[in-house]
Point group: C2
Chain length 351, copies 2
Amino acid sequence: MPATLKDVAREAGVNISTASRALNNAFGINVDTRKHVIKVAARLNYRPNQVARGLVTGRSNSLGLLISDIRNPFFAELARGAEDAAFNAGCDLVLCNSDQNAEKQMRYVEFLLAKRVGGIVMNSVTPLDEDQQDRLRAAGVPIVLLNVSSADRHSPAWRFSSVVADNLYGGEIAAKYLIGLGHKNIVHIAGPRTHGAFSDRASAFLKVFRENGLPKPRVVFGEHTFGAAYQSTKQLLGTDRNITAIFAGNDVIAFGCMRALMESGIRIPEDVSILGFDNVEMTQITSPPLTTIDQPKYETGKAAVEILLNMISKDGVREPEHRIIGVHLIERQSCRKISGAAVQDRRTAKR
Amino acid sequence: MPATLKDVAREAGVNISTASRALNNAFGINVDTRKHVIKVAARLNYRPNQVARGLVTGRSNSLGLLISDIRNPFFAELARGAEDAAFNAGCDLVLCNSDQNAEKQMRYVEFLLAKRVGGIVMNSVTPLDEDQQDRLRAAGVPIVLLNVSSADRHSPAWRFSSVVADNLYGGEIAAKYLIGLGHKNIVHIAGPRTHGAFSDRASAFLKVFRENGLPKPRVVFGEHTFGAAYQSTKQLLGTDRNITAIFAGNDVIAFGCMRALMESGIRIPEDVSILGFDNVEMTQITSPPLTTIDQPKYETGKAAVEILLNMISKDGVREPEHRIIGVHLIERQSCRKISGAAVQDRRTAKR
DNA sequence: ATGAAAGCGCTAACAA
DNA sequence: TTGTTAGCGCTTTCAT
């Protein structure tokens, strides 16, 4: 239905390849011819068929973004950063929600591969088994991983690029902050243990206690959703009423905790302190505003597609690139000092 | 680099068209031949090139989703509904953030058209001028509009399909609810006036006052962002300290208002009541939990791509399809009764 | 049931 | 500077 290059060429009275050159402003073409062709193209409302172009050039100018769920505000921000970067480079972004489910994730990958996307930004690959990971690697498409575990990243088999927040450092400052506030009965409500970001935060968190000879806090792994966190907290409250602080694996989990606490008539931070992770926009408007650990989400998405684009351009075999995004504590009002405790001076600028 | 159909055919010792038939489980092919071809294809890790297939079949199995900003939780939910529906139909979704900017929106459309997407789900087209709208229509691609104004929808020139929340009814119940609670000094902080959803809510809201001979509430149009709403509210507070209720154009706006109120030491709902719109997940965890008007977001996105898919399948000229999604009040704790007022019994089940 | 051949819309040598 | 030609990887007549 739409006009083709052939139509333009015929209408302009030139050869199809001349028309192609005119429209792609290549060298070696008469200025007037070009002007004429362009005018004809405009009149016919010609739009170059990217599908056909992709077939011959072998490049598809589309990228895949494979995350667990766009409804998670963390991923929404990240996706926006990714999309902006892609758009600036003339690429489009195909959105895929895997729900962190290995089978679904793999189906999406196959899907993207079949579409011949130029590259894929995806959640950590850890839910995938060895076979699946091998197939991924064999596909030969540039891949940038998000939320990789540092453990994975140092494994010799690791050949993908990655961009991750400094979750180890984040877990560490979380522990130190809560300990510094004088809390003794702390629980860490984490996300799925298979998820690099959460496992790193948890292990670094625990490490601080271990290294200081402090009793090991309880850790509850689960889905990183509002509902799951709500349930976990409710359950926790049934067995232990002496908790004074909760370190949530991320802000959404923190929100779920807060909800459960509120419903049980427990005050924040008077009765229990809550510390989040991510610094999602909504943390500013909860009551009390959530103290949390900020990680630049938009920049993470942006960096991921920049690396991807970079890998695509130099399409030889390249060393994978790893980028670590810094995190820092944002003190708001959801954590309180236990009386008598010495508080460290690690106050951070409130943004 | 990846194996092609030709490779499979050669390796299997059959003609390329036989291989094609075998893989597409068409009729008229020997069962054993098929099995053999399939096995070879698997061994070679063959993945049919959708780009090439699209070129010959003329259909691209990708859809475009053009919204203002995925970071808006409303759109994130909607996008998820859209993506799920697309995936179930074997299509992929290209994500585009227009920032509700006409020029950017148009560039994205051109982009999607050049990719020969099968159809586009997009925000209302109202920021676009007549010329642009005509070009859109002329492109001949199925389009489903979101957030259309009812005014637009009844205009004879309107030839696009649409799915919209019942914003008129929403604005009406908002007004009646606040009036019923006894509020006299109400402000409506709306989104952009060019945006159908917001203009409908505002006009229906005002209509109730007009029809009841009540003084017209002030309406402030602006961006539908946290920051803009925060600013508007701050400004409002500078000029008028007697406000008792705010009807926010959507939940994100409501969050911005709440933040500004909190900072000014104004209590919700003791000093001022706040009513939102959308029933975003976070409304449950604000303090107090936000009373708001629910609209099914996931379903909206889902319905939009279903209509799109429907239009694509019957690719003749078809009557545009319009779907209206019901809304209803969710009473939580951000609105209070002004003493002495008669409260209507319009309590709705808390979900 | 299978093969041969044309062509989708475009780019990219190679000629002229 | 322009035209001719050969594909990119696939589907789809039309023969066989």
